[in-house]
């Protein structure tokens, strides 16, 4: 409307005729302007000729086809939100079979999306098994039976400790007393040798042969020394020579064995003529049922479950509870104590036990 009004104001002339020409050629020239347009052409024959040159010019549309339409088509999963939904659902396993097929086809057709999908699968969180709750002992509730066995183990631990300390002290004391005892024995020995009669010696040796101990050889040697001392005195030399038994005293072990051997050779065997009786052995049908009473007792009482390790742990647990869990210990998968820790506000330390050290060394 505005244009028409403008054109009405501004009549066709040599400066603006192109727009009239185009409108005329496209058949859009307003009816009211047609008379002016014809009048203008008749008055300007050169421009009429120019208009006639435009008339045959027309562009024929070609049958060209854009062959990459598929690149331009958009699928559902091209929308970021749809892809993310499907990818998350795929990660969570929430896609139905048909949705899964469609999504898999989409991923197959769009390899660049595989990486993105892989990132989604990596967002699955995996718990760290190394993180453990170290204060389980505070949570356990103990039954009466367990309390008894616990305190039993604790008492055992204390007893083991007390006995070991007692034995250690006792051992140190005994070292001192042994040296004194040795001195007293040396003083008494000469009396013994002089009081033993030769006749009695043979009898005693025959009867007590089975009781001969390794120490007896030492006694025999010890008995030689007083004999030598006696020989050193001139008044007693004759007595010693007359009684050869005194020499036998000094040679006790050798002579007694020489006397016994012939006796042993003279033993007669009468049992060789007896008829052998047939012996029957009864084999139980189910060997598993044949169990020793000891095994049953062990099983019923649960003594077999008690070990040094358990007693040690009971002792450590006692210390832990007494110290209000400032003192703690770590165990490995086999239940062996691997580390002992102490943690208070003033002081904290951790001591690995020897077994772990050796493991670490062997591991290295």
């Amino acid at each position: 409307m505005f244009e028409i009004e403008k054109r009405e104001e501004m009549k066709i002339n040599r400066n603006n005729y192109e727009s009239y020409f185009i409108d005329y050629l496209e058949g859009k020239l307003d009816v009211s302007l047609v008379d002016d347009f014809i009048e203008f052409l008749t008055s300007n024959p050169d421009l009429k000729e120019e208009l006639s040159m435009f008339e045959p010019v027309s562009v024929e549309p070609e049958n060209a086809v854009f062959g990459k339409k598929e690149l331009l088509f958009k699928e559902k999963f091209d929308l970021e939100s749809e892809f993310n939904h499907a990818a998350v659902a795929n990660t969570e396993g929430d896609l139905s079979d048909t949705e899964k097929d469609a999504f898999d086809k989409y991923i197959a057709a769009h390899p660049e999306k595989k990486e993105e999908l892989a990132l989604y699968s990596q967002t699955k969180l995996v718990p760290d098994e190394n993180i453990v709750f170290s204060k389980k002992n505070r949570l356990y509730k103990k039954t009466l039976a367990k309390t008894i066995t616990l305190w039993g183990s604790r008492v055992a631990a204390v007893l083991v400790l007390a006995i070991s300390v007692f034995l250690f002290i006792q051992r140190n004391e005994s070292k001192n007393t042994i040296s004194q005892e040795v001195a007293t024995i040396e003083e008494k020995q000469p009396e013994k040798t002089t009081s033993i009669l030769p006749e009695n010696i043979n009898q005693q040796q025959n009867t007590k042969l089975a009781e001969v101990k390794p120490g007896s050889g030492i006694k025999a040697e010890r008995q030689k020394t007083p004999a030598k001392n006696i020989a050193g005195k001139p008044t007693e030399i004759q007595e010693i020579q007359n009684t050869t038994t005194q020499q036998e005293i000094a040679r006790q072990p050798e002579e007694t064995f020489a006397m016994i051997n012939p006796k042993m050779a003279s033993v007669e065997l009468h049992q060789a003529n007896l008829e052998l009786e047939t012996m029957y052995i009864t084999i139980p049908e189910n060997p598993n049922e044949e169990r020793l009473l000891v095994d049953r007792v062990i099983e019923k009482t649960g003594i077999e479950k008690i070990s040094l390790n358990k007693i040690a742990k009971a002792g450590l647990n006692l210390v832990t509870s007494i110290s209000n869990e400032k003192f703690t210990y770590q165990t490995d998968k086999q239940g062996n104590v691997t580390e002992v820790n102490f943690d208070s506000r003033l002081l904290a330390f951790s001591i690995p036990t020897t077994s772990t050290r050796s493991n670490e060394v062997s591991g290295e």
Partner: protein, 161 residues
């Protein structure tokens, strides 16, 4: 629920509850306290809790205890300062697992907790709904948002603020 069932629940679930709580609130001492609180509650109610529902009871209790603590902590300026201090240690990791760990720490608490219940314990949407008192669609939305955030973070951590 018997003493033996209670004690076996300590053996079976205390580590798992501890991991869930520790990963959610990132404070060992608080996590230990929460686990102990949960078991105390369980022991107080052990006559009313059946052996089958112990695990769900513990995780429900842990989740709600954490939500309460987080709300209390958010009122405290001190807690905010700690959070900022923790966040300032970022960008020092190169391993994917550590980057993922960093990304998880940046998730909003509820998203993180829901995702942990889903991934660590394999709970279904419905089970998480029951544990957290959220509705199922909320649970799905939280998981969806968390996964997209994590994927974007591990894809290009420098781009995510």
């Amino acid at each position: 629920m018997t003493i033996n069932e209670y004690n076996s629940s300590v053996t079976l679930y205390s580590d798992r509850v501890f991991r869930f709580v520790l990963k959610s609130i990132k404070d060992v001492h608080k996590a230990e306290d929460i686990v102990q609180d949960c078991y105390e509650k369980l022991w107080k109610n052990h006559e009313n809790v059946s052996g089958e529902k112990v695990k769900a009871y513990l995780f429900t209790s842990a989740y709600h205890t954490m939500i309460d603590r987080i709300r209390k902590d958010k009122r405290s300026v001190y807690a905010e300062e700690i959070r900022i201090a923790e966040d300032s240690h970022e960008k020092s990791y190169s391993d994917l697992r550590e980057i993922l760990n960093e990304a998880v720490n940046k998730l909003p608490e509820i998203q993180r907790m829901v995702l942990l219940l889903r991934d660590y314990e394999g709970y279904s949407y419905q089970e998480i709904e029951e544990l957290t008192n959220l509705n199922e669609s909320q649970v799905k939305v939280y998981i969806y948002r968390a996964r997209v955030f994590l994927k974007n973070y591990i894809g290009k951590p420098e781009a995510v603020i």
